[in-house]
């Protein structure tokens, strides 16, 4: 097997990975980026509404970075590490201006400066945007910049495993085009491989969001932090679950039930439709469950009063998605929407330097849990996190690289053998049926409303799926874009992370942010104001805790 040695290797070519690569390459270190897709196909491209930023001199006159941190902390239901939130807020303006100087075509005010708008959970408007395809614009800007640097891109290479001893040693990957294996060793490894939406039946995520980074980390003994916190976005388009951006409500869109009522008045009497996503999604689920939804189980997102020109200019993607995928003209009728899985607040346990408990292993973006989102992420903060913490992590890796490091000399063959057993087997079960069952049970039992019974069911379902996966086999024996093989490897990761999520959710006996237990409907700060730290060891999930870092804000009742 070919072996390549770098100073740093990054798994994932979305915004977080590219930002880190950019930082490390600029410092003169050798860096490789491995991604199972060409960089611009990464899921960052699907982020729509915008990126929150306090820009001094170009923000609301009442606003300041402390309000921004406060919004994040309250939005995250106090499970936010407050030092992480403060760092995020304080770097927000600078990062947006940096992306602007690299070419991102942000929408403008008439004087040519970057424009802003309100997003859910914001006391003052801070969201900066490029139409409603902000993620796409930023990803392209960053990839295009990175393509001018000395970075080795391994596009369409699939990472199988992370090798480590006392320290992270390298990634084993396969070239998807030819199944040629490679062992990429490095002093520092960054996992920036994004989220896991495909473990849910209804998700706004890309097909590629299969939780690979979480899976390889868990198998290498690295824990996930707060994995029970999964965000459900209020406005997935019915029935295809395509994301209708929060921008639609930020620009004045109103959710209505089958009686044409603006039902959010009841649930969030101050913020209405712009309450945080967990609250809106629960409210919508209640409306639908109590019979005030439309047949099929959806509600209406009403934009009609905004006017055609405004909708087409500011919400073109929402307009287009409704038209293309649901046959609805949003300028004339309501868009059919229902909540769908959207984001994973949990992730690889890292501190504000991006470092995981395993020396040499870092993580950034949705793959990581720096704890800026706590129990619920605010809209416009995921893009911000990928960039700010992608860069912070890159900077810290540069500091890390300045010291001497030995890379453990490990043999990658076992990882390869483990993977190949699916192809070598001649009978067994295909990935498809196991995957579909997994997505079903996660949606039904680890969803918006949870309880002991459902979560126990999920755990036992997942255990039996893991059993079935022991006889997983791949019919395709070719070595040329054998995507069935990669789907099987993805499934292995999905089963690992789903297991950890379900066990952690069963364990947390309170309701906080996106984790809502009908059997424990209140937040319980006395027992549960702490981070879950979950390990997968052998066949068991082991749970530990870490305190939440508090700086200036005391927990208070969370109403909107």
């Amino acid at each position: 097997m070919e072996k390549m040695k770098y100073d740093a290797v990054i798994m994932g070519a979305g915004l977080a990975g590219l930002m880190a690569a950019n930082e490390i390459a600029s410092a003169g270190y050798s860096v490789a980026v491995v991604s199972k897709v060409f960089p611009t196909r990464s899921h960052s491209s699907a982020a729509e509404g915008g990126i929150a930023a306090y820009i001094p001199g170009n923000s609301d006159p009442n606003d300041d970075p402390d309000y921004m941190s406060y919004d994040e902390i309250k939005g995250g239901d106090y499970l936010v590490d407050q030092d992480a939130a403060e760092l995020l807020s304080s770097k927000s303006g600078e990062i947006v201006r940096t992306l602007d100087s690299w070419g991102a075509p942000f929408n403008r005010q008439p004087d040519g400066r970057i424009a802003l708008r309100y997003f859910g959970g914001q006391t003052y408007p801070r969201t900066r945007f490029v139409g409603d395809k902000t993620g796409m614009a930023l990803l392209h800007t960053l990839y295009e910049r990175a393509s001018g640097f000395n970075i080795d891109f391994y596009n369409e290479w699939y990472v199988i495993d992370l090798l480590k001893e006392k320290k992270a040693a390298g990634l084993v990957a396969l070239k998807m085009r030819s199944l040629e294996p490679i062992y990429l060793t490095a002093k520092a490894i960054i996992i920036a491989s994004g989220g896991l939406g495909m473990i849910y039946k209804h998700s706004t995520n890309s097909y590629i969001n299969t939780g690979d980074g979480y899976g390889i980390a868990l198998r290498a003994g690295v824990p996930l932090k707060d994995p029970e916190f999964v965000q459900f976005h209020p406005t997935g388009l019915y029935p295809s679950d395509i994301l209708i951006s929060e921008a639609a409500r930020a620009e004045g869109g109103i959710l209505r039930n089958n009686k044409n009522e603006r039902f959010m008045e009841k649930y969030a009497p101050h913020k209405f439709d712009l309450a945080p996503r967990d609250i809106v999604s629960r409210s919508m689920t209640i409306e639908i469950n109590e019979g005030r939804g439309f047949p099929g189980g959806y509600l209406g997102l009403d934009l009609t009063h905004l006017g055609r020109d405004y909708i087409i200019e500011r919400l073109s993607l929402a307009y287009e998605a409704a038209k293309t995928f649901a046959g609805v003209d949003a300028t004339e009728e309501m868009i059919p929407v229902r909540p769908a899985q959207h984001y994973f607040m949990g992730g690889i346990d890292v501190d504000i330097t991006g470092a995981s408990p395993l020396p040499g292993l870092f993580a950034a973006g949705e793959a990581a849990c720096v704890s800026v989102h706590g129990a619920n992420r605010l809209g416009s903060n995921s893009l911000l996190e990928t960039l700010v913490y992608g860069r912070e992590t890159g900077k810290n890796v540069v500091e890390f690289l300045k010291k001497e490091h030995d890379i453990p000399d490990l043999n990658p063959e076992k990882s390869l053998d483990d993977a190949y057993k699916y192809v070598k087997r001649e009978t067994g079960e295909h990935f498809g049926s196991i995957l579909n069952d997994l997505r079903e049970t996660m949606w039904d039992n680890v969803g918006i409303f949870r309880d002991e019974k459902k979560l126990s069911k999920a755990v036992s379902d997942i255990k039996s799926l893991r059993k079935r996966a022991e006889s997983l086999y791949v019919t395709d024996k070719s070595n040329n874009y054998n995507t069935e093989f990669f789907n099987a490897l993805e499934l292995r990761n999905m089963l690992d992370v789903a297991y950890v999520i379900a066990e952690s959710a069963l364990n947390r006996k309170e309701s906080r942010g996106a984790h809502y237990r009908t059997d424990f409907p209140d937040r319980n700060d006395d027992s549960w104001l702490k981070h879950t730290i979950s390990y997968l060891s052998n066949e068991d999930v082991r749970i530990d805790y870490k305190p939440v870092k508090m700086t200036r804000w005391k927990p208070e009742v969370r109403v909107y």
Binding site: D60, N62, Q109, D111, Y118, P125
Partner: protein, 109 residues
């Protein structure tokens, strides 16, 4: 340029890039502690007024009450952008002054 109710700053040319040809000029203005901002005048003659104020929490829902002669082009939080004309900018500033004064007084009560 003269606006009855406002204190005006100096006129400055602005360009897109450092050392680039100016595409517009700008004049800062202030109406007491009620509101402030700048007048942005393009080389083409097009004129925009930025209204910044701490009093309204968010201009957006108020836009329909604003009887301005200029055209409101954007609003978010304490920011309001109005496309103006030399002919009526005076009237609009006067209107905003009265409007915000009223709002300020009603908040006190």
């Amino acid at each position: 340029m003269k606006i009855d109710e406002a204190e005006l700053g100096e006129e400055k040319p602005v360009s897109e890039r450092p050392g680039g040809k100016p595409f517009a000029r700008e004049i800062d203005y202030r109406v007491g502690d009620l509101f402030w901002g700048k007048i942005h005048i393009r080389n083409s003659g097009k004129m925009y007024m930025l209204v910044t104020s701490k009093i309204p929490f968010n201009w957006k829902p108020l836009v329909k009450d604003l009887k301005l002669k200029g055209k409101i082009v954007d609003s978010a939080g304490g920011f309001l952008w109005v496309q103006e004309d030399e002919k009526y900018i005076n009237d609009d500033v006067k209107f905003l002054k009265d409007y915000l004064e009223k709002m300020k007084n009603s908040k006190k009560e």
